[in-house]
């Protein structure tokens, strides 16, 4: 994307260049915040990140 383009800074940390070895031991504020946010998503009873259609037995968490 062009360098001058207006960007939205997201709360998700970019781990595309982080090896699995580094991921295991990485510390830092941004990773901590990302994990905390993920745990809030995991705990969310609505699970607003997906959807379902049809029988409620398929209801997502």
């Amino acid at each position: 994307m062009p360098a001058t383009e207006s960007l939205i800074e997201c709360s998700l940390i970019d781990l595309n260049s982080t090896s699995l070895e580094e991921l295991r031991t990485s510390e830092g504020e941004r990773l901590r915040i990302a994990v905390e946010k993920l745990l809030r998503q995991i705990d969310d009873p609505e699970n607003r990140f997906g959807g379902y259609r049809g029988d409620v037995d398929w209801r997502l968490g």
């Binding site: 207006s6 998700l12 830092g28 994990v35 998503q41 259609r53």
Partner: protein, 625 residues
């Protein structure tokens, strides 16, 4: 090392909202989902390491991670192919929820936590490593993500087996049996039952795994492998080919995005005709769970629908569109159960994509009434829910901007003409669902209804404040209601079979096409509203709580030109029913009044509708009058 944050361009955000996103944006969402997956795995690792008792008879999670690290060093692509496999995300999220006490299952925790060993083994096999590992055996089955499953003789539901790969081949050995695999069968992916659906048409290619064995494929609870039969597989491939031909030819923009996003189809048994079931999860980006489709068009529309959820799920991992609410539940025109706010937003975006699909379908096939009907139905449904959402304080500034993008595109679609017959059926299906939903989920206090009934009996006009009596959503909300889909299914049958609405006659067995259909439905479809009203009323005289007949009455009165009654049914059918219920015992008390009973519902509806004249016809929230 300071790690960067993902960034999303304003242009991408607006393109997604407006429904004009392309494959490049899809690739950027895939990249952000790779980060999301790694955060998920790190969170799981942290949680599991804090509980040293979780390994059970397996080695530790760190041992599994060591093997993953070895695999990645040998081949980053091999490790990524496994880690980023959608069902690995479903497993990790399920297990993390178990560890946090949010899920329960019969299996010991070590079986779920230990699935990390299966993930590592799959990555190591793909990377071409020689190694030894111990994996959990779930009811005699070992499933390696991206490969498939192996069966082992077993006596206990939860066992372990040793997996070893050397230069000569692989061996999986449990307590009561072993499986040998020649080297080639592993690395050439000729794993037992590994299946793919692949199709190429009009220069576009779609290839997905058909995963019918992974224990975490059903999202909520682990499941045993249920491999589709060869004959079923052939039907899936035929439908897949036809669906891809249709998508790539008639919907090339949506097809390109699908090709970039779809990775796995999780099949389940066929559902009722025109009642497909499907699901997706933000934990498993790229996976679509679906019942075996009726036809190629339904398969295509389902892929579009579920991958809209995937895109929005990925966006929500990046940007907050709404804050957590207070557990309020809302009406969604596409659901039979009340939905929380976040799910409502998901529904809007999914059906926004579905509307776009049908808009294109009707442009390509203008002679096919199905496209006109579906387009008319869903564009209005999406608009109605957007109007609800924008009033909610939980919506963030970005959330408002997102819905503005949806609305801007939708406004153009809403201005497009639709053939009158399709528009009539779509409006009727929408009214039928809204009335039926409210009758099933909302109740009015008997005391308030009795007070209104007294006013009606005394011949007084409705005091405006009296109609502000609340309708309460039953709590806990009923998630399983039946009968709401009868008329919409019947209409889809007729449209698909190109039977004119007047086609099926009363002399036919009404329930033959769709269970739950009654003769009055056929009168209504044929345009004989008077006969339909009489039929629905007669049904209610015999079964006063027949909700299908109650909503049918609303449709018949709409055709008979009863604006006040229809206003009452459309806005507060539960109030009409409650007041009628309060009056009905007196009406049936003696022969003189019993004769009035058939018209009593209409009189009550007219009376309430007159009082509602200044009100909106689309209440924004079920708990509001």
């Amino acid at each position: 090392m300071l790690l960067d944050l993902h960034r999303l361009s304003e242009r991408d955000f607006d393109a997604l909202a407006a429904g004009v996103d392309g494959p490049e944006l899809a690739e950027r969402l895939r990249a952000s989902e790779r980060s999301q997956r790694r955060v998920l795995l790190r969170a799981l690792l942290d949680e599991a390491r804090n509980r040293r008792d979780l390994a059970g008879p397996l080695f530790s999670v760190d041992d599994a991670w060591d093997l993953l690290v070895r695999a990645e060093r040998r081949s980053a692509a091999a490790a990524s192919a496994v880690i980023d496999y959608p069902l690995v995300g479903l497993w990790a999220a399920f297990t993390l929820r178990r560890l946090r006490g949010l899920r329960h299952d019969d299996a010991p925790l070590w079986v779920d936590v230990g699935y990390l060993h299966c993930v590592a083994v799959a990555a190591a096999v793909r990377a071409g490593l020689s190694f030894q590992a111990r994996v959990p055996v779930r009811r005699g089955t070992v499933v390696l993500p991206t490969f498939g499953h192996l069966r082992l003789a077993s006596r206990d539901p939860w066992e372990v087996a040793d997996f070893s790969v050397t230069g000569e081949g692989a061996r999986l050995a449990g307590r009561f049996g072993a499986v040998e695999l020649a080297d080639g069968s592993i690395r050439a992916q000729r794993w037992p039952r590994s299946r793919r659906l692949t199709s190429e048409a009009n220069g576009l290619r779609l290839s997905v795994a058909l995963d019918d064995v992974n224990p975490y494929r059903h999202f909520q609870h682990p499941a045993l492998p249920a491999p589709v039969l060869d004959s079923e597989m052939a039907r899936w491939q035929r439908l897949f080919d036809d669906a891809w031909l249709l998508l790539s030819r008639d919907h090339p923009e949506q097809a390109q995005v699908l090709a970039a996003l779809a990775e796995v189809v999780i099949p389940t048994v066929r559902a009722g005709r025109f009642l497909p079931r499907s699901a997706s999860s933000g934990d498993g980006f790229g996976a679509v769970l679906m019942s075996e489709p009726d036809d190629a068009t339904q398969l295509a529309a389902t892929l579009v629908h579920e991958l809209q959820h995937a895109k929005l799920g990925a966006l929500l991992h990046l940007v907050d569109l709404c804050r957590e609410g207070d557990q309020e539940l809302f009406y969604a025109p596409w659901r039979d159960d009340p939905r929380p706010l976040g799910a409502l937003l998901q529904g809007v975006f999914a059906f926004f994509g579905v509307t776009r699909f049908w808009r294109r379908a009707r442009a390509v096939h203008p002679g096919d009434a199905v496209g006109h009907f579906e387009f008319a139905l869903w564009r209005t449904a999406v608009r109605d829910v957007v109007e609800t959402l924008v009033t909610r304080p939980e919506l963030t500034v970005r959330g408002h901007r997102f819905l503005l993008g949806v609305s801007t595109t939708l406004d153009g679609w809403l201005a497009e003409p639709v053939p009158r017959s399709a528009a009539r059926l779509a409006a009727a299906v929408a009214l039928d669902h809204r009335v039926g939903w409210r009758l099933r989920h909302l109740t009015v206090s008997p005391t308030a209804a009795a007070a209104l009934a007294d006013g009606f009996s005394a011949g007084r006009s409705v005091p405006p404040d009296a109609l502000r009596v609340s309708s309460r959503l039953d709590r806990p909300a009923r998630t399983a209601v039946t009968g709401l889909e009868v008329r919409s299914t019947l209409i889809r049958h007729l449209l698909h079979q190109r039977i004119s609405p007047g086609g099926p006659r009363r002399s036919d067995e009404p329930g033959r096409l769709v269970r739950g259909t009654i003769a009055a439905d056929l009168d209504w479809l044929a345009g004989d509203a008077a006969a339909a009203a009489a039929g629905f009323t007669a049904t209610l005289e015999a079964r006063p709580e027949d909700l299908h007949a109650w909503s049918g009455l609303a449709l018949a009165y709409a055709d008979l030109g009863e604006p006040a009654a229809v206003r009452a049914f459309a806005s507060r059918p539960e109030l009409v029913r409650a007041v009628h219920r309060a009056l009905a015992p007196a009406s049936s008390a003696g022969p003189a009044t019993r004769a009035d009973t058939p018209t009593l519902r209409l009189s009550v509806a007219r009376w309430i509708g007159a009082g509602l004249a200044g009100w909106t016809e689309r209440p924004k929230h079920p708990d509001q009058p």
